[in-house]
Symmetry: C2
């Protein structure tokens, strides 16, 4: 009998819900904007319940890749909640609870970026790798890491968007992050670009200096993360990275920052194979959520 | 029959050679300054050969924790060598080769900081932890990581001393690292302190502003690394951290930098249990090298 798995990418901009099979193929999918917790979670629940009824199927498990910070400690009273997010309305939002009550299935819960990294490990740019990093650069900035083939959690979970960067001397913008001056998310997220240049990133032409500054911040972050993790690859997804002209700039500037200190042929001579877009494209997040559900079943 | 293991901490300042048993107890140890490769390695070989003869024993294996960057790829022609170090005379130095030829034992080779982390995992401040970071802050700055109970290697190995920091606006010093402006090692290593203040760190009084600046740089690095790895603990060793008055300053400033974004009771309320000195003290490096030798045997 075919098994059906549920995946939910709970992003800061949009939610993506999907039902897939054990090979990761998506059989049905719905995308909608992230408004407020009750409305957005209710809409997710309706999607899954309707599909169960319409198709007359059972769901084996649900994987949720969620924007954060989130509580992953199953012994904690706030397990499955978002914690200290700057996103209005979502502080302490319970994500796992209402889905568990409505669907009665085992739930795997992880960060959106760890989920996306897992999806890329199974079916995308991370196949056959043991150690790599996945970043989303969009409304927020977050990084997930696969280490020895598994998502990294540690004490809570990484918050790679909040590493500190050196502000460009020409940059008078004070940063978007309410917690930190000069962190990666504060200087380089989509909203930071909008606020700094007083226009939407989509409307900024590709030859505008905004993109040189953006590439510089991303490259600075990549250099520090390469020195921290020594990853075999870095995958850059998210809305901002849809500006594909950023890739060659980020690749070149990362080489400039590292200055040949890390003696890797891959980084020095083939960086276009090293800092890459997600192979799963827009489906990295939701396929990652499906991957979480599949892993729970094994 | 008792087994004997050899450990060698090949540091940028000193080498420590030891013979130990399977419980990690050190039975004989010798320390000498790091001069030039042939002289220093010959002295290490003599130590091991003399002990073998004097005690009439066989060595089961040798673990080497080495300053870097080093080549850990067993399929590479420069496996077991130091690669691009700024240390004069040691570029491309072959470490494993001469020891292997002289001693005829299996050799485990890793970074000095991964070895020290492994030693702390087995017998020190990392017992019962799955994910933590060990730093040495001394002649150079390096970090090793234990992830899911194992040393992290990745593409090559981490070089955490080369993450970028924000220079203090009052700091006119240009940095000691020949590869990077503004990296952690360039701004905060022992030689950087010496050059910035034009005196040896040991002679700087504890109430001198040099230590506030040093603590600030270390705390900045710790904040970025906590956001990157979400470690369960950070162990800070090395010559500079013998200035134990730095610990409370680093702990407090790390909290200031993180600004309660990472919602961990341990970090917010018990940071003196979170950023700690090595429990193995001066023996972290050489006991770590023994731990490498022991792991090879299993």
């Amino acid at each position: 009998m075919a098994e059906y798995f549920a995946g939910m990418e709970a992003g800061g901009t949009k939610f993506v819900c999907a039902i897939g099979d054990s090979s990761g193929q998506i059989l049905a999918e719905e995308r909608f904007p992230t408004t407020y917790p009750q409305e957005t979670i209710d809409r997710s629940i309706s999607f899954f319940l309707n599909k169960k009824t319409d198709w007359d199927i059972q769901l084996t498990s649900l994987g949720i890749g969620c924007f954060g910070p989130i509580d992953l400690d199953r012994s904690s009273s706030s397990y499955g909640h978002i914690t200290s997010t700057p996103k209005p309305g979502w502080v302490n939002a319970n994500i796992v609870g209402p889905l568990s009550e409505a669907l009665h299935v085992p739930i795997a819960f992880d960060t959106d970026v760890n989920a996306a990294a897992l999806g890329e490990l199974k079916w995308g740019a991370g196949v056959n790798l043991e150690n790599f990093i996945y970043f989303t650069i969009g409304t927020g900035i977050g990084g997930g890491a696969i280490i020895n083939g598994k998502p990294l959690h540690g004490l809570i979970h990484p918050e790679m968007g909040h590493i500190f960067l050196n502000p460009n001397p020409d940059d008078t913008y004070k940063g978007k992050c309410p917690y930190h001056r000069n962190c990666f998310e504060g200087l380089a997220s989509g909203p930071a670009i909008s606020e700094r240049w007083n226009t939407s990133p989509q409307s900024i032409p590709t030859d505008h200096p905004a993109w040189d500054m953006e590439a510089d911040y991303i490259a600075q972050a990549m250099s520090s993360l390469i020195c921290s993790f020594s990853p075999q690859k870095i995958i850059l997804g998210g809305g901002v990275m849809k500006q594909y002209h950023l890739f060659p700039k980020v690749q070149r500037l990362t080489q400039v920052y590292l200055n040949s200190y890390v003696q890797s042929d891959l980084i020095i001579n083939h960086i276009d194979d090293y800092i890459v877009p997600p192979r799963l494209g827009d489906q990295a997040g939701v396929k990652g959520a499906l991957a979480l559900a599949l892993d729970l079943d094994r």
